[in-house]
Amino acid sequence: MGRALGVLIWLLTIGSVWLFVNGRWWLPPYISEHGPAYDRQFLITIIVVGISFVAAQVGLGIAVWRYGSRGDRRERAVYSHGNNRLEIVWTAITALIFITLGLMGQRVWAQLHLNEAPAGATKVHVVAQQFQWNFHYPGADKTFGRTDPALVKDAELNFVGLDEQDANAKDDQVVTTLAVPVGRPIELTLQSKDVTHDLFVPELRYKQDVVPGMAIKMHFTLTKEGRFELACAELCGQLHYKMKSYLIALPANVYDELVALPQAQFQGRITQLIKEYPMGIKQGAATTAAR
């Protein structure tokens, strides 16, 4: 029995490891500047953790393989209550490894969260609602028009409650797709009209809750052109699983042309871009090298 269990533990370990290393499934390709650093930290962590996992399982397997009772009533196990020196050694080693890992694991975070977006970053306001994403662009004047929850009229497509009277609002555009330029820092301001949502683009390596009552800022820089699925990753109700949109990463000049368009043509252009950009990283496009 002991041997069978030992072998089973090893087989399960091999199977588990295989799922991770077979190359068929892994993180989606990255498109942002912090992507490579993220992927590196992820890989290092998985390796460290994987080694501990395998070591522990192999050890467990060896123990059950080797130390089975033979059913002889005279036999005695080793009489030991432990070993203080061993305890100290393994405590110190694990503490060292885990805390190092922990400190390394703050780098990407600190880079994204402890810094403000650089001045002149491209700004877009994100307004989430059950079950739709709205993206509010400031238009040619680069100034956002006033918004007010009281002015929201979904039927008239005023999803964000834009104040038409406000001079700054005249050239603002609101669409349900996020189009942003590659190679420039981007700052999104996230707001929600109703419940908590979460903006998630796998390729972006970023999740951020969109909390009602707060205006949360996130910033990043894209390095690859293409079109990517944008999902909601915080339970927001019945159709949470359908709250989908796209992130279109455009060359800077295309983006500049886009945001110069008035609202009337804006939507049409976005539809066109969605067609132009098949899903994924745009092949053959010049990508801004990420360091």
Binding site: R24, Q41, F42, A77, G82, N83, R205, G213, M214, M279
Partner: protein, 662 residues
Amino acid sequence: MEEATTPIEPTAAAAATQAEAAEAGHPAAAGAHEPHGHHSPPTGFIRKYIFSIDHKVIGIQYLLLAITAAFIGMFMSVLMRLNLTWPGHKWTILETLFPLGAPGGVMTPEFYLSLVTMHGTIMVFFVLTTAPQGGFGNYFLPIQVGAEDMAFPVLNMLSFWVTLVGLVVLISAIFVEGSTILGNTDFVNNFLGGGGTGTLGPIGGWTGYPPLSALGKIAGPGQGAGATLWITSIAIFCIASLLGALNFITTLLNMRTRGMSLMRMPLTCWSWFTTAILALLAFPVLLAAGVLLLLDRHAGTSFFIPGGLVFSDAVLPNKGGSPILWQHLFWFFGHPEVYIAILPGMGATSHILSTFARKPVFGYRAMVFAMFAIGLLGFFVWGHHMFISGMDPRTSIAFSVLTLSIGVPSAIKTFNWLGTLWGAKIRFTVPMMFAIGFVSLFVAGGITGLVLGQTSLDLFIHDGYFVLAHFHLVMGVAAIFGMFAGVYFWFPKMFGRMMSERLGQLHFWPTFIGVYGIFVPMHIMGIVGMPRRYASFQEYDFLRPLDPLVMLVTIAAIVTAAAQFIFLFNFIWSMFKGERASGNPWEATTLEWVTPTTPPPHDNFGGHLPTVYRGPYEFAVPDAPEDYVLQTTPDAAAGNVAAHAAGQGVQGSSGNGHNGQH
């Protein structure tokens, strides 16, 4: 009284103490040898089995409640898998069962989400917070410390019944939301917020984040009566757990029999003790949060509801609240709660590993300290569930580093389990198999906590299937394996009969393989980016490559779930038909195995409280007549043990280092 070497000074206070102790039947005051009034067994079915104040009956009641809840939760999980794997498939049987939730046999998304919520809630609260602590703890803590009962038997009975009320309230959500007739009665409409929306309860997840959970009907189906009943149930559950925790701590501190110093307690007792402390400190916070949420829902306050919310173009009047506040309160409870779920399993595992390894626990003292370290650190890491929530990113860093350091005591425990097995003479009984399984699964699940705990990495894997994989491995199965080990191990003592070894093996193998099959692939889904709480994965192209894994998981889940019926059958069958058990079938050392009868008599020790002479795990003592020495064996009778082990721990010698090499 004379013979007890109690140092209580004869002051008025002490006199009162002793009078009081006499009331509770404590040996210190009343002497260990007289039977006491209220400890004569009750007669009559109702007093004996239903409203019993005997901790053993209450323990079994908790266990049965947990098993029932576990099967309900498991059934729900299988339904969830069906929906995820074959979206849109018509299951005629479902239409019969849930005409509103699965019209035409196809589950609605809200029905799916209510399954998720109820599955999570039932499993976390009514399975993992009942059986390990309320079930085994209740039954065995008093016996293992040599007491006649819990300190507060009536309170104990109340805890159970309040828990049951909590479960009934939770389950009633299924009917109130699932039936248009019940769901539209005046009572439901006026007091509960309206039901009959065809769900099984709320759709907000077991974490119930507001504002989704605070707004009632307008937030979606199931958020009316379903959510009210859900939060009420949890508040009730909190009260029951508080009563239980108070009782456990008092019993353990005050009712240990002579010679049972803290460092001679079995590790199970330590784990129940730590768990009770965590429960005592964590549940009141959830209770407060739950009350505030109820006020938001029904008294018009807005603790968790910020201003300017817009539903169907109308601005809600609420203003000033903070959704993040709920998350802080919830997770301040929630993280300790996950340790409440696992610690008793760790205790049982240590206990069982040592017993069947026929070897003392390796590093007993380190085990105790590690347990307390986990408990203590557990109160300072709640923020790791909230990295992405929008709270101050600097706080996240502090939480993150603390989170990784909590892996250290966990690793210490793992190493000590391996150390216990090293050089052992393992007897591969079914409880031992599950205990070994526990170690394997705990490592598999715990280790990914180190991935989730890094702020940077959480940026991608938060709220995805990687998290699901992590917590199902530790909580969904390691902790459950601890319970299985406990059931197989203690069943002979509880029911006087052995469980079938063969059926037990038949249960173990598919379950062990099955749970790896269910939960390891979920890591991969998380790495590809699959978000949790999705009623369907059909909307996203990037999830397409995962289809084969989704199918694999579902098949594994169905097989595993089916295997649980072997357990159920074995449990019920053995209760009546199992082979009769001797008093100490496993040749174990602790006090539950020295009771005069099996199952133990009403007062556990037949009026003679045992005296304890040594630590709990004296196996393989050189020169002792047997390979195990009972805690109650006086030194003279134990051969040469005294030289090796007498009073291990009492004098403060750790016992570590005797025979350190192996």
